[in-house]
C-alpha cells in the first residue's frame, strides 16, 4: 500500500474563488493512491461541507488530513465565533447563513448533517468566541 501522509491546507475566509480547493486536492490525491471510490466520495463530501462552513461561518481556518492505509482523518480548525448550540446546528434545515450566501446556493442547513452522514466518526469541539474544531474519520 502506501506510507502514512499528512497534508495541511490554509483556508481563507470569505474567499469563494478558492472554496473547495482543499477538498478537490485531497480527492485527487486519494484517487491517485487508489483508495476505493466509496471512501473517496465520503471524504470529498464531508470535507467540502466542512471547508465551506469554515469559509462562510468562521472566516477561514486550517485543515489537516492524515491518510493511513486504513483511515483518513480530517481535522478542520477555525478561530471563528463558535457554535452556540451544537444539537440545533446539527438539525437538517437549521442555518444562520445570510441572504448573500443563500443566493449562491448555500444555506440549506444540510452541511453538518451531510458531514455526520458521510463520515464514519465525527467530533465537534467548539467554544464561543474562540473557535471550532471538527474532526472526522473515514475508514477505508
Amino acid at each position: 500500500m502506501y506510507d502514512a501522509i499528512k497534508l495541511t491546507y490554509n483556508v481563507s475566509g470569505d474567499d469563494f474563488t478558492r472554496a473547495g480547493e482543499a477538498s478537490s486536492d485531497v480527492k485527487g490525491k486519494l484517487k491517485k493512491m487508489n483508495v476505493p471510490p466509496d471512501a473517496v466520495r465520503k471524504v470529498a463530501i464531508s470535507m467540502y461541507e466542512g471547508e465551506i462552513n469554515m469559509v462562510i461561518h468562521a472566516d477561514g481556518g486550517q485543515i489537516t488530513v492524515e491518510i493511513t492505509k486504513d483511515c483518513i482523518t480530517m481535522i478542520l480548525a477555525d478561530k471563528g465565533p463558535g457554535i452556540k448550540d451544537i444539537d440545533q446546528a446539527m438539525q437538517a434545515g437549521f442555518s444562520t447563513a445570510p441572504d448573500n450566501i443563500r443566493t449562491l446556493g448555500f444555506g440549506a442547513g444540510m452541511g453538518l448533517p451531510n458531514m455526520k452522514k458521510y463520515s464514519d466518526e465525527m467530533k465537534i469541539e467548539t467554544e464561543i468566541g474562540v473557535g471550532t474544531t471538527v474532526t472526522m474519520k473515514v475508514f477505508i
Binding site: 469563494f16 463530501i45 449562491l104 440549506a108 458521510y118
Partner: protein
Amino acid sequence: MTVKELIDNNIFELVNNGGNGDTVITKPFACDLLSFAMSKASADCAWFTVMGNMNTIAVSVLADCACIILCEGAELDEPGMAKATQQNVTVFKTDEPIFEAALKLYNLL
C-alpha cells in the same frame, strides 16, 4: 448517451467543453441547493440547475457529475467560467425550465 453525443445533439448550448466527451451520462439530476446536490448527485449524472457560479463547478467536480446544464437562461459567471475551464467541467445552457430540460435529456438516454 455520452457527453460528446449531447454536445453534437445541440439541444443545449455548449458553454465550456471539459474534454470528457467519452463519459457516459447515467441520468439527469435536478437541484439548486448545493448541500443537497453534494450528497444526492450520483456519479456521471447530468446536473440541471439555475446556479451558475464557481460553487456549482466545485460541487460538480467533487460529486463526479458528467456535466452541468444551466437552465432558465442562467449564465455561468466569470469566476465560474474560469473554474470550469481550469477543472475541465463541461457546462451547457438553455432557456428552458429545469423540468422540461431534464425531461428532454431523459427521453434521449
